[in-house]
């Protein structure tokens, strides 16, 4: 009978352990922010084409359950097809090639304090050359990264083409 009691005791203890885990404090934010590219005029979205020297606006809806932190835009070449889109849509990529003078863009952006939603409105014009040489045309990766105030983060990476027209 002793065995039985022991087992009961052990099981009881294990329930106690499980129980402890459920004491979550409601004050803690454990939700990541989200980047919504499904809004009406979202830009760019998967497989879009950006043109050198032509202005465009980055439109994405940023949402957090508490407070947004900041966001970042990164454009880099994907000539070696090193990365895929985080979107479902598959784009047709050009053949692999070696970068000669690829375009690179990295920039951080602030979001007004106490915002829980924010519609980005970043105006960009990508110059076709670095002053001496033309930038490479082709497949690029356009990446938006977003944090909330607590440091949770999320990213959207999409395949775009960067061309001269």
């Amino acid at each position: 009978m002793n065995t039985f009691k022991t087992l009961i005791l052990m099981t009881a203890f294990s329930f106690f352990l499980n129980g402890c885990q459920d004491d979550e404090k409601p004050t803690i934010d454990d939700e990541k922010p989200t980047i919504d590219l499904t809004i009406a005029n979202a830009f760019p979205t998967s497989c879009d084409t950006l043109y050198f020297n032509e202005p465009f606006s980055v439109k994405a809806l940023l949402i957090d359950n508490v407070e947004l932190g900041s966001f970042n835009i990164d454009i880099h070449n994907n000539f070696d097809h090193h990365t895929h889109s985080t979107e479902i849509k598959q784009c047709t990529l050009d053949a692999d090639k070696t970068a000669v003078n690829p375009y690179t863009f990295i920039q951080d952006y602030t979001i007004p304090d106490a915002s829980s939603t924010y519609l980005t409105d970043v105006s960009m014009t990508i110059s076709s050359s670095d002053g001496t040489d033309l930038y490479d045309e082709g497949d690029y990766h356009f990446q938006i990264r977003l944090t909330d105030k607590e440091g949770w983060s999320t990213l959207k990476g999409i395949n775009v083409k960067l061309l001269i027209r």
Binding site: T6, Q21, G69, H76, V100, H141, Q143, R145, G151
Partner: protein, 805 residues
């Protein structure tokens, strides 16, 4: 902790073959390895059911024997059970020498009689295991094999590398000591395993809680004290051949050792070779963030590895003096999951990567750890002097394809003096000196004092910067006293003073980045680290009390310990290629200070034991890498900034273990562990700390038989591990669901032509369950734990006597 004397009770039973004879008498005596009588040893002739117990002189006598050939078994608490085949010669007195034993945690269940002298002699919470345990629970790495011990968990990187975590604290807060010298490598990296050969380890002591006094500062979370094979008996030689195989990652491994000892001299050698392929997980695709990676044959692409280790030790033993050299070289090479390395989830050429599951392509790491240790001691009547000298060289290279990111040039310039594919390189030399003096002031009082000195020098190379080059000098001294009130209670107290100096060397990028200032853009070689020199000093202390009335053990310990910030915490400034983050040090950090209260209560009877060891811990400033809401363009290539921050931490929890012996053969065991952590201040107030282990428990059933057909020491064991959800998380973690997993093991010893062969088999993750481990390095990218794995270890020991000259 004057002398680690380890106790155990091992119950083994024996066969013997009988032949009719006239009654004869069997006389003998039992001695220990110092030829002192062993009192109370049980001498058993099992098949005859005859036994005697050795008297105060160690003598025993068994009458009326009708046969002269049998196997005897001599067992005594604190000694390894001796099993020997005897052919009796009349009128001869036999002398049997017993070896001091190690506590066996066979399976989860701590052995029948849970009297462990070592545990009674210290107020610290301690676990002890030996090589039998390791063989029976062989995991992918030493730490993985130890994972089922109460309070111990691991941070795993693939199938062959793990870092130790004691009660939720890991990295530089857990000190690993091998042969009395602190193992030093690049412990700060979550993806850096422990450069230790698990086949070479004979005995492990794990101290949970602050144990900084004797081992140097830093051991704020605990100590894992590893010991290589102890000195062989006089005029013997021997060795062993170990063969291991695992199905999950097509692992094959072998370790061969040899030892010999003349009277005063002894030497050992060991060589270990391991080779494994990509490990399998019960899924055919993995979602790295939202990017799906298909897996070929359920194999985690490019996680193969190999290891080649060499060890030798040799030494001199005199009556009062003993000196041993340990020289070892551990070399490992293993790949990283190829799709999850770099600044973002990566597409790889699958036709190349999936060609073979055994090749190691980019990205991979290669580490060589060389170690020379001299350990000497001199004994006198009332005192003992010990010195440990150590030199270690840790050389680590991390290789990956040159993938320019941020402002690195698209084409690597030829003018630079390093290989563009070399992502990072660390070269670390470590010199250590310990001198300890143990003094028996009276029958009741023991005092020990000593100094530790350690000098570390780290150089860096490769294209990516994360930690700077540095020099670190640390000096410490301690005084510990132990007072035995009575046979059943003792009081222990100690203090330690440490002084350290860290010198960080400045670092500039090898490529230019565009700096925008006042509307101008300038191209600059960014300075990532400044020259920093910091001095730290601190006084630590500890007091403890231990009381052992009859069937009970009570322990209590209160201590303050501290840890100096490491160079990475002070001066990191680089991108973490696995976490997709930019990590920044803080040159103004103060040393981490922790106060901890530990207790332990245990009841042990003949067939039943239960123990609980709770702890309460407070950090006035815990140093940790805090994810901020910022991004950094210039230094961090646009990655999220993670910066080293200090915050107050409260932690509590404990372990519970119990076992019940239903019969001589059948035993039930239970181990449970739980840790709660909360940040009391700082930017993440209210959150836990990263890598918090979820509550977990193991239920074990073990059936063992001294004989089963032709197998001796046969056992069969089933572990049922259940782990709770982990919902206490901190950015960038994700919650992890609880899981249940079954591990099955069986084994025993075969004797063929007087040759023993030990076989240990396991099936891990019996049901091939798909589950996630919250403390796995690959958790964040949704890689489940390894699928079903059959493991076999065959160990063939051999031994003989050297002829006397």
């Amino acid at each position: 902790m004057v002398k680690p004397i380890l106790l155990s009770l091992v119950i083994n039973l024996l066969y013997c073959f009988s032949f009719g004879q006239t009654p004869i008498r069997f006389d003998g005596s039992v001695v220990d390895n110092k030829n002192k009588p062993v009192i109370g040893a049980r001498v058993l002739l099992k098949s005859l059911n005859k036994a005697d117990v050795s008297n105060a002189q160690g003598d025993f006598s068994i009458d009326d024997l009708t046969q002269n050939t049998f196997v005897i078994e001599i067992s005594c608490v604190g000694y390894e059970t001796l099993i020997q085949r005897i052919e009796l010669t009349e009128n001869k007195k036999y002398i049997f020498q017993l070896e001091a034993a190690l506590v066996k945690l066979d399976g989860v269940v701590v052995e029948g009689n849970y009297v462990e002298l070592k545990k009674e002699k210290t107020s610290l919470n301690i676990e002890i295991v030996n090589d039998d345990y390791l063989r029976q629970n062989l995991g992918g790495s030493l730490m993985k094999s130890l994972e089922r011990l109460p309070g111990l968990s691991t941070i795993d990187i693939g199938s062959g590398q793990s870092k130790p975590v004691i009660r939720g604290l890991g990295f530089n807060r857990v000190v690993v000591v091998e042969n009395s010298i602190k193992h030093e490598a690049q412990q700060w990296g979550a993806d850096h395993g422990l450069e230790i050969d698990q086949y070479a380890i004979d005995r492990i002591e794990i101290i949970k809680g602050p144990a900084s006094l004797m081992y140097g500062s830093d051991a704020i979370g605990g100590i894992i004290d590893l010991k290589n094979k102890t000195v062989p008996k006089e005029n013997t030689f021997g060795g062993s051949v170990d063969l291991s195989g695992k199905t999950n990652n097509d692992f094959i491994g072998s370790s061969v050792s040899f030892f010999a000892r003349k009277k005063d001299f002894f030497a050992t050698v060991r060589a270990t070779i391991l080779d494994y392929g990509d490990y399998r997980v019960p899924t055919d695709r993995v979602a790295i963030y939202s990017y799906y990676v298909p897996l070929h044959n359920n194999q985690l692409r490019n996680t193969a590895g190999n290891e080649q280790n060499l060890h030798t030790s040799f030494g001199l033993i005199k009556d009062r003096f003993k000196s041993t050299f340990y020289i070892s070289n551990v070399h490992t090479k293993y790949g990283f999951f190829a799709n999850a390395h770099g600044l973002e989830p990566r597409n790889v050429d699958r036709s190349v990567h999936d060609q073979s599951n055994r090749d190691i392509l980019y990205p991979y790491q290669e580490v060589n750890h060389f170690k020379v240790i001299n350990k000497s001691m001199y004994n006198s009547k009332n005192w003992k002097f010990e010195s440990d000298l150590g030199y270690q060289r840790n050389y680590r290279e991390e290789w990956s394809q040159y993938a320019p990111h941020g402002y690195m040039p698209a084409v690597f310039p030829k003018s630079l003096d390093f290989n563009p594919e070399l992502e990072r390189q660390f070269e670390k030399d470590i010199y250590s000196v310990n001198a300890k003096l143990f003094y028996n002031a009276s029958d009741k009082t023991q005092v020990s004092t000593g100094i530790n000195a350690e000098y570390k020098e780290n150089n860096i190379g490769g294209r990516g910067f994360i930690i700077p080059a540095f020099q670190h000098l640390n000096l410490g001294s301690f005084l510990v006293a132990k007072y035995n009130y009575s046979k059943k209670s003792l009081f222990q107290a100690g203090i330690r003073y440490d002084h350290g100096n860290v010198n960080v060397s400045s670092y500039n990028d090898w490529f230019v980045s565009p700096n925008y200032e006042n509307g101008d853009t300038t191209q600059v070689y960014l300075k990532r680290a400044d020259d920093i020199s910091r001095n730290f000093s601190n006084l630590s202390w500890s007091i403890g009390y231990n009381f052992n009335p009859d069937n009970w053990t009570y322990k209590f310990n209160l201590g303050k310990s501290f840890r100096m910030p490491i160079a990475k915490e002070l001066a990191a400034s680089g991108v973490n290629y696995h976490r997709f983050s930019y990590e920044v040090g803080n040159a103004g950090l103060s040393p981490e200070v922790s106060y901890q209260l530990d207790a332990g209560v245990e009841y042990h009877a003949m067939k039943f034991a239960v123990g609980v060891s709770p702890f309460l811990n407070y950090f006035s400033n815990y140093i940790y890498l805090n994810p901020t809401s910022r991004y950094d363009r210039l230094y961090g290539f646009g990655n999220q900034v993670f910066e080293y921050t200090e915050s107050e931490i409260l932690r509590y929890g404990g372990e519970l273990h119990a076992h019940y012996e239903a019969s001589k053969q059948l035993r039930f065991g239970f181990i449970g562990e739980y840790v709660y952590t909360e940040q009391l201040s700082g930017p993440k107030k209210g959150y836990t700390l990263p890598f918090a282990p979820p509550a977990s428990a193991i239920l074990n059933v073990k059936y063992q038989k001294p004989y089963f057909k032709f197998v001796t020491n046969a056992y069969l064991s089933l572990d049922y591990k259940f782990t709770a959800d982990q919902n206490n998380i901190v950015p960038p973690e994700v919650t992890t669901d609880g899981y249940q997993v079954f591990n099955f093991s069986l084994g025993g010893d075969l004797v063929m032509h007087n040759q023993k062969i030990s076989i240990a088999m396991q099936v891990q993750n019996l049901l091939n369950s798909k589950y996630f481990n919250h403390t796995s390095y690959y958790r964040l990218i949704n890689v489940p734990e390894a699928g079903r794995n059959f493991i076999i270890n065959i160990s063939i020991p051999f031994m003989g006597n050297l002829k006397h000259n």
